[in-house]
C-alpha cells in the first residue's frame, strides 16, 4: 500500500483541531494564493468547511469502514444522464479545481503545496478501486472517495457538504477528463466476507507478509521504512511514501480488513503498490493467506487515530527512573499521543513533513523528570540510501517556498517550555518563542548525537547555553522509529531561565520534529501547539495505611465486643441452670 503524506495543517496553530483536521486544510489565509487569479470564493469557502469535514472524517473512517464494501451496492449512482457531466462541471469548478486543476490534470493552484499531489484525472488512473489492476474504477468507487475522502491526505469527504445529485454529477464529470472510461467494462474483484481473525490468522498473516516481501517497501515492522522505500515514485515521478502500516487510521482506502484485502487484490494504481491477484492465480499465495495479511496489517495499530489529550501525566516512578529509552518499564507507563503538523506559518514553510506525531511518556521520582518520546521516521539521518528521496522531495516541493536544501541534515527533536512557570495564562509564541518572550528549549539531534539546552527566540533562532547541559539524552533508532529519553532534575540550576517542575502544577510543553533525510531542519518540520505536562503528587503512604488500619481496628473492636457479649451470655445461662 502506498503512502500519503501529512498535508498542510491547520491554519490556526492552536488547539486540538490540529489533529485529524490537519489533513484537510488546503487553503490558508496566510498563504500565497493562486498563481493564476482564481476567485477568492474557493479558498474562503473551503476553509469554512474544513472544520466540518475534520469532525466528520474520523467518524466515517472508523466504525463505518467495515460496512463500506457491503454498502457499495447502495452507493451506486443512478444511471448518468447526458447532462450529468455539464452539471458536474459547475460543482467541480467551484469545489475541486483549486487542487485538481481546471482541466483535471491535478495542477490546481494549491497542488504545489501538497504531497502526495492531488489526483490527475486525465489518465483515468485511480488508487482506490474494486476493479483489477490497471482497470478504470467503477462509478461507485469514485463516488465512495468523493463521499469519504482519503484519510491521511488533503482530500476531504464531501458526503455532508454536497448533495447526492451533485456528487453523482461530479462522478460523470471526472470521468469525462479521461478517454479510458468510454466503453470500459472493468473486471470487478469480488470480495466475500472476511474470514475470522484471531491470533493464528495474524501469525499466519505475518508469515505471508514476509513471504510476499511486503517488508521490502513497508519495512519489517510496517513503518514504511523498507529498503526500497527511499526510491519509490508515483506515476507522475513524485516521491511517494510506502504506507506506515502501523497507522491504519490514515490508510487512503480505509482500514477495515475487507478494504485492506481489496487493496491487496487490486493494487493501488498510480503508486508502486502491486496487485497480488496474479500471485494467487499462480498459487504462490492462497486467497486465505491474503486475508491473513490483511488481518495482520490491521493488527498493527488501533482502528482510530489515538485520542489527543491536552495534559500529559507524569506519574511517580515505582523505584528508580528507567535509564534507557527501550527499558521494558516503559511498556507499563501511560502514553499520550501528540499530533505534529506541518510548519506552514513562518518561512521557509514546509508542506511535506515526515513525522506526524509523537508518543509522550513521563515519569518522575521526586528529584528528576524522565520524558520518553517515540516517533515514526523511516530514516536515521543522514543516510546515503535516502539521498535519492531527498533529491526527489526537493525537486517536487521547491515551487512551494523556495529551494529545499539537498544536503541531508540530522534528525531533530525539540521540547519547549516557558522559561518560568507562572500563573500568567499567556504563553510564549508556540513557534519557538519570540525575541520578547523566548522559550526554554531542549534540542536533540541524531548527528551529532547530543542534546543542547538553551533559549529560542523564534524558528531557527536557538541559542544553546554554554557548559554541560543539565538534560541527559539517550536515543535509539529501531525499525523506522526513534525512541528518545530526556531526563532532567526537577529543579534547574538557573531558575530564571528554565522552568522548575513542581508537582501538582500543569506546565506548558510543546514539541517539534524534523527528518534530516526529508529536507527538514529548524524551520521545515512538524510542530505541535502548546500542551501541558502535570507531575502527579506522590501519594503519601498514610493514604494507603489509614483505611486499612481503620478497617482492622473496627473489625477487631467489633469482634472483641461480640466475643465479650457472648461470654457474658453463656455465663448467665450457666448461672440460671444452676439456680433451677
Amino acid at each position: 500500500m502506498t503512502s500519503r503524506r501529512h498535508a498542510p495543517p491547520a491554519c490556526q496553530p492552536e488547539g486540538a483541531a490540529a489533529t485529524e483536521g490537519s489533513s484537510v486544510r488546503s487553503w490558508c489565509p496566510g498563504r500565497p494564493r493562486a498563481r493564476r487569479g482564481r476567485s477568492l470564493v474557493v479558498p474562503a469557502a473551503l476553509l469554512g468547511m474544513t472544520r466540518a469535514v475534520a469532525s466528520a472524517l474520523p467518524a466515517l473512517t472508523g466504525s463505518v469502514a467495515g460496512a463500506l464494501l457491503g454498502m457499495t451496492v447502495l452507493l451506486v449512482p443512478a444511471p448518468l444522464d447526458a447532462q450529468a457531466a455539464p452539471r458536474g462541471k459547475a460543482t467541480y469548478d467551484k469545489w475541486c479545481a483549486g487542487c485538481h486543476g481546471d482541466t483535471g490534470a491535478g495542477d490546481g493552484p494549491a497542488a504545489a503545496y501538497m504531497l502526495p499531489r492531488p489526483r490527475d484525472f486525465t489518465k483515468g488512473v485511480y488508487q482506490i478501486r474494486t476493479t483489477a489492476s490497471g482497470e478504470v474504477p467503477l462509478d461507485a468507487d469514485i463516488r465512495r472517495i468523493i463521499d469519504e475522502g482519503m484519510p491521511g491526505t488533503a482530500m476531504p469527504g464531501w458526503r455532508t457538504l454536497l448533495s447526492e445529485a451533485e456528487r453523482n454529477d461530479l462522478v460523470a464529470y471526472l470521468k469525462s477528463f479521461s478517454q479510458f472510461f468510454a466503453n470500459a467494462k472493468p473486471n470487478v474483484v469480488t470480495v466475500g466476507g472476511a474470514p475470522g481473525g484471531g491470533a493464528d490468522a495474524i501469525a499466519n498473516g505475518k508469515a505471508a507478509y514476509e513471504k510476499l516481501e511486503c517488508f521490502k517497501c513497508h519495512g519489517p515492522a510496517g513503518r514504511g521504512d523498507g529498503q526500497s522505500a527511499p526510491t519509490l515514485t508515483d506515476d507522475w515521478d513524485h516521491p511517494i511514501r510506502a504506507a506506515n502500516l502501523s497507522q491504519s487510521w490514515s490508510f487512503t482506502g480505509g482500514n477495515a480488513v475487507e478494504q485492506i484485502y481489496t487493496r491487496l487484490r487490486t493494487g493501488l494504481d498510480g503508486t508502486p503498490m502491486p496487485s497480488f491477484t496474479d500471485a494467487v492465480d499462480a498459487k504462490l499465495v492462497t486467497d486465505e493467506e491474503l486475508w491473513q495479511v490483511a488481518h495482520y496489517v490491521r493488527s498493527l495499530s488501533s482502528e482510530r487515530a489515538p485520542a489527543v489529550r491536552e495534559v500529559i501525566r507524569a506519574a511517580p516512578a515505582e523505584g528508580t527512573l528507567p535509564a534507557t529509552p527501550d527499558d521494558s518499564a516503559w511498556a507499563d507507563v501511560e502514553r499520550f499521543w501528540i499530533p505534529l503538523v506541518a510548519q506552514i506559518i513562518a518561512k521557509p514553510r514546509w508542506f511535506a513533513p515526515m513525522v506526524n506525531g509523537v508518543w509522550v511518556q513521563a515519569l518522575h521520582d521526586g528529584r528528576r523528570l524522565a520524558l520518553r518520546l517515540s516517533w515514526d521516521d523511516p530514516s536515521e539521518s543522514p543516510n546515503a540510501a535516502w539521498q535519492e528521496w531527498l533529491d526527489r522531495v526537493a525537486a517536487t516541493m521547491t515551487d512551494a517556498d523556495g529551494p529545499v536544501p539537498t544536503t541531508q541534515g540530522s534528525d531533530q527533536f525539540s521540547v519547549q517550555f516557558p522559561p518560568r512557570v507562572t500563573d500568567d495564562a499567556e504563553r510564549p509564541y508556540f513557534l519557538h518563542g519570540s525575541a520578547r518572550r523566548p522559550v526554554h528549549m531542549w534540542r536533540w539531534t541524531s548527528s551529532p548525537a547530543r542534546v543542547e539546552v538553551g533559549a529560542a527566540t523564534g524558528l531557527g533562532r536557538f541559542a544553546p547555553a554554554g557548559g554541560a547541559p543539565e538534560v541527559t539524552a539517550a536515543a535509539k533508532f529501531d525499525q523506522g522509529q526513534w525512541q528518545l529519553l530526556l531526563t532532567r532534575a526537577l529543579a534547574p540550576a538557573d531558575t530564571a531561565r528554565a522552568p522548575t517542575f513542581t508537582t501538582g502544577v500543569a506546565i506548558p510543553i510543546g514539541f517539534y520534529a524534523a527528518d534530516g533525510s526529508n529536507g527538514e531542519d529548524q524551520s521545515r518540520g512538524a510542530i505541535s501547539s502548546w500542551y501541558a505536562i502535570y507531575l502527579d503528587v506522590p501519594t503519601p503512604p498514610g493514604v494507603f495505611v489509614a483505611p486499612v488500619a481503620t478497617m482492622l481496628l473496627t473489625a477487631g473492636l467489633g469482634t472483641l465486643l461480640v466475643v465479650r457479649a457472648q461470654r457474658r451470655d453463656r455465663g448467665l445461662g450457666r448461672n440460671n441452670q444452676e439456680e433451677s
Partner: protein, 258 residues
C-alpha cells in the same frame, strides 16, 4: 536468422510454460544481461524481407553500476558488479534496438496477430530483454526467474497499465490494445530495473541481439520508412524499398562518429 529461430524457440518455450501453469525459473543465462533478442514473427502475407545491422561507432557510454548487495540471490548471478545495461555494444554492433516499419504499409489493412507470445523475463534482477517489440493484442508473457519478489509495472499513456506482484518464479500474461512507442516497464522493489516495450499496429518489427542484426519478414512489396529505436540513444529512420518476394536492406549506425 539464427537469432530469429532462437526468438521463436524462446516464445515457443514460454507458451509451453504458460500451458503448464507456471515456469520453473531455470533460465541458465547467467550474467548475460544484454540482447536476448526476440525478433521474428510469423509472416502474415507477402514474402518480402528487410535485413540489416545496427552498428555503433566510437566509445559507448559507460553503463552505471548497480548495487545489488541487498539482493544476494540476484547478485550471485553475476561475476563482479552488475551494471544497468543501457547501451550494449559488442564488436561495434548495438543490441536492444527495435527496428520496425514506421510508415508505408497499405492503409486500412488488418494484420494477423502473431499467435506466439513474446516474453520478458526478470532474471538476476534485470529485465531480459531490455527492449522488446510486440504487436497490439499479441500475448506478452511476463516471467520471474528470480527467487525474490518483483513487481512488474507498466506505465503506458495510450494503453491501460498494470502492476503485478510476482513474489517467486511464475508467469503472467497481458496484452496491450493500442499501438504505443514505447511502454516503460519498471520494478519498484528494484528501482534500477527498466525495460521499454514497443507496441506496434502490425507484425513488421524485429529487435537486435548482440550481433546487431535484424530481419523483418512477411512484407508486401513497397517502399517503407523504417525506424531503428533505442531507449537511450534515440531513433534513426531510413527509406527501404522491398520488391515482391524480395529483400530490402537497411543499416543503421549510432554513436559518436555519425
Amino acid at each position: 536468422m539464427r537469432r530469429s529461430v532462437f526468438g521463436l524457440a524462446v516464445a515457443g518455450v514460454s507458451v509451453a510454460l504458460v500451458a503448464c501453469g507456471g515456469g520453473d525459473g531455470g533460465d541458465a543465462q547467467v550474467a548475460d544481461t544484454g540482447g536476448t533478442g526476440t525478433a521474428a514473427v510469423a509472416a502474415p502475407a507477402g514474402g518480402g524481407t528487410i535485413t540489416g545491422t545496427v552498428a555503433f561507432t566510437g566509445t559507448p557510454p559507460a553503463n552505471p553500476p548497480i548495487d545489488m548487495s541487498e539482493e544476494s540471490a540476484c547478485a550471485q548471478k553475476y561475476q563482479g558488479q552488475p551494471t544497468d545495461n543501457q547501451v550494449v555494444v559488442t564488436d561495434g554492433k548495438l543490441a536492444d534496438v527495435v527496428v520496425y516499419v514506421k510508415s508505408g504499409l497499405p492503409a486500412g489493412q488488418n494484420f494477423q496477430v502473431p499467435p506466439q507470445a513474446v516474453e520478458i523475463d526478470q532474471d538476476g534482477c534485470l529485465y531480459k530483454p531490455r527492449a522488446l517489440a510486440m504487436m497490439v493484442n499479441q500475448k506478452l508473457t511476463i516471467k520471474n526467474s528470480d527467487p525474490v519478489a518483483h513487481n512488474i509495472k507498466a506505465v503506458p499513456k495510450e494503453n491501460r497499465g498494470f502492476n503485478i506482484s510476482q513474489p517467486r518464479p511464475m508467469t503472467s500474461e497481458r496484452t496491450f490494445s493500442q499501438p504505443e512507442m514505447t511502454v516503460p516497464f519498471e520494478c519498484n522493489i528494484h528501482s534500477w530495473m527498466h525495460a521499454d516495450v514497443a507496441v506496434l499496429p502490425h507484425p513488421f518489427f524485429a529487435t537486435t541481439g548482440r550481433d546487431g542484426t535484424f530481419t523483418i519478414t512477411g512484407l508486401p512489396a513497397g517502399t517503407y520508412e523504417v525506424e531503428a529505436w533505442h531507449g537511450k540513444l534515440g531513433a534513426k529512420t531510413m527509406t527501404v524499398t522491398v520488391p515482391e518476394g524480395g529483400q530490402g536492406s537497411a543499416s543503421f549506425t549510432f554513436g559518436t562518429a555519425t
